[in-house]
């Protein structure tokens, strides 16, 4: 499928000279959900702000469906919807009018059916005549999304859509994202919640200190980068680990009935066969073995630490 978004060597230095983004390259296919995962201050908002035209870039190129965001900014921006990290809304205006405004601002002619469709999808229809300031925090976030969708964009940026949002609303948000994906909208979301990236993304990009450390399909990322744990349940509790097993750096569970071996699936050999042989040779017998895949969180922590080192 064609790339809807192409980012080439995008850099940003803020006025003080601080380098917030250090050359980001990224290509995004139409229809996918990509999560940019990174700690606070990584440069996620800066990246999105540059693509959307809120912040100017220091150097680099961005194309949206082939349109350069500088030279063809009208064509490029018409395709983009942005849900910002901070809730920013005209407090005294009615919900429906703020959404109409957004549609007009993006040059789309008035279409009440489209507005109704968007408001209903976000469960805002009942609240359409309320002033924005009368809404709860969660509802305000929905209004932000409705505004971003008002001009029927093909690419939607969600900057930390669930930061500070309760669990229920987070699940709702994920449903909305899935729903939009079904419509073919490309979604780029930033988050510092790993579970969020894990739950909804097709691909995950890891960003830290202004650099995109890697971008991988979520499943591949976990398989390729993932450490796995092998738990060996022993028939008898084990007081101390025999010297002959020292090289495996085993850890023990609390009740000392199991030993846990951590291995890297990237390695040529995992060392499992040898470990099991050596356990038997040490005179221990085991009842069961199981493996556990580490989560994105572990991968993330490992990567960011490697980067810092």
């Amino acid at each position: 499928m064609a790339n809807i978004l192409e980012i080439k060597d995008l850099r940003k230095s803020y006025d003080g000279g601080f380098e917030a983004l250090k050359g980001v390259n990224l290509e995004i296919e139409e229809g996918e959900i990509i999560a940019l995962l990174g700690p606070n201050g990584a440069g996620k908002t800066t990246l999105i702000s540059m693509i959307c035209g809120i912040t100017s870039s220091t150097s680099g190129d961005v194309k949206v469906a082939g349109n350069c965001i500088r030279d063809d900014f009208r064509a490029a921006r018409s395709l983009i919807g942005l849900v910002p990290q901070e809730v920013a809304l005209e407090p005294f205006e009615k919900v429906i009018n703020t959404v109409r405004f957004s549609r007009g601002l993006f040059g789309k002619s008035r279409d009440e059916a489209a507005i109704e469709h968007i408001l209903r999808r976000l469960s805002l229809w009942e609240k359409r005549n309320n002033a924005v300031k009368e809404l709860s925090g969660g509802m305000k976030r929905r209004v932000l999304i409705a505004k971003a969708l008002a001009h029927e964009p093909r690419v939607l940026f969600l900057d930390e859509p669930t930061a500070g949002v309760d669990v229920e609303l987070r699940k709702d948000m994920w449903d909305i994202v899935a729903d939009l994906k079904a419509d073919g909208v490309t979604i780029i979301l930033t988050t510092h919640y790993i579970e969020e990236a894990e739950a909804i993304a097709d691909r995950v990009g890891i960003i830290a200190k202004g650099e995109l450390l890697l971008v991988e399909e979520k499943a591949k990322l976990m398989a390729r980068m993932g450490k796995k744990e092998l738990e060996v349940q022993l028939t008898e509790p084990l007081d101390t680990i025999p010297k002959s097993l020292a090289k495996y750096e085993l850890s023990q569970t609390h009740d000392k009935t199991s030993v846990v071996y951590t291995y890297d699936t990237r390695g040529e050999r995992t060392g499992i066969t040898q470990l099991l042989n050596d356990i038997a040779a040490a005179g221990l017998s085991f009842r069961d073995v199981s493996t556990r895949q580490s989560s994105l969180e572990d991968i993330f922590v490992t990567l960011v630490q490697e980067d810092a080192a």
Partner: protein
């Protein structure tokens, strides 16, 4: 040119105006009425006539100008400052519009509101004094030009301001004195010669003079000079706006 976007901004801004329609109108109407009572009745009873026009009528163009200028500035500066303040500016910046459309939308709405209030003030004054307008078309032209140029000026202030204090600062420290000293309530010819010369450096003098000419055919300075002055002021503001547009000053980081 994205006309739909300009319309959207314009309608949204006008909605803000009509939401607070009564407040928007009551305060200028009350203050104007007070001016009539204080200046027209109290002082007017001593001044009687200025160049053959009753004092009450004489101050009408100045009062309308005073209102229109302050309203243009406050509407336009607030109109663009508010989105910066509450953060909704992100939407303007991410929309497929250029700065030109933003200016047209906001300045257009601010000028319309000021015009609206100016007309109401004029109508209010009809209750107090009897006036005929000698050159109605010129009067409307002056009014429109003033609304536009001062809205542009207000827009620049709104972009420049980093907080509410700054937003009030320029109108309070510069514009209000200039307007009061610009001959709203007197003819420049009534001043001592030194002050007449100093007044010639006050741009507002030219606007009020031109506007008053449209009413009574009286002029402190030739009406052509007035037109030139307002044209110059408009060009200056347009230049500044263009520069802001080119550099993204105080808008895009």
């Amino acid at each position: 040119m994205n006309w739909t976007a300009i319309k959207a901004i314009y309608i949204f801004e006008m909605a803000r105006f009509f939401r607070t329609f009564l407040q928007s109108l009551i305060s200028p109407v009350i203050s104007t009425s007070l001016y009539f009572v204080v200046f027209g009745a109290a002082i007017g009873s001593r001044i009687d006539q200025v160049d053959g026009v009753s004092y009450g009528a004489f101050i009408v163009p100045g009062l309308v100008m005073l209102t229109v200028m302050t309203q243009s500035i406050s509407n336009a500066s607030f109109g663009i400052y508010f989105p910066k303040f509450i953060g909704t500016i992100y939407e303007l910046l991410s929309a497929p519009i250029s700065f030109l459309e933003i200016v047209l939308g906001y300045v257009g709405a601010a000028a319309t509101k000021a015009m609206f209030i100016g007309v109401i003030i004029l109508m209010t004054s009809f209750f107090f004094v009897d006036i005929q307008i000698a050159h109605p078309i010129a009067m409307v032209l002056f009014l429109v030009l003033t609304c536009i140029s001062f809205s542009l000026f207000g827009f620049i202030i709104g972009i420049w301001a980093k907080n509410f204090e700054q937003l009030q600062l320029v109108p309070l420290l510069i514009v209000t004195p200039l307007v009061f000293l610009g001959g709203s309530f007197y003819s420049i010819s009534m001043l001592p010669p030194v002050w007449q010369t100093i007044s010639m450096f006050n741009p507002v003098v030219y606007l009020i003079s031109g506007f008053r000419w449209a009413f009574f055919g009286l002029e402190d300075v030739p009406v052509a000079t007035s037109l030139l002055a307002i044209g110059f002021f408009t060009a200056l503001c347009l230049g500044a706006v263009y520069w802001i547009f080119k550099t993204g000053w105080r808008i895009r980081t």
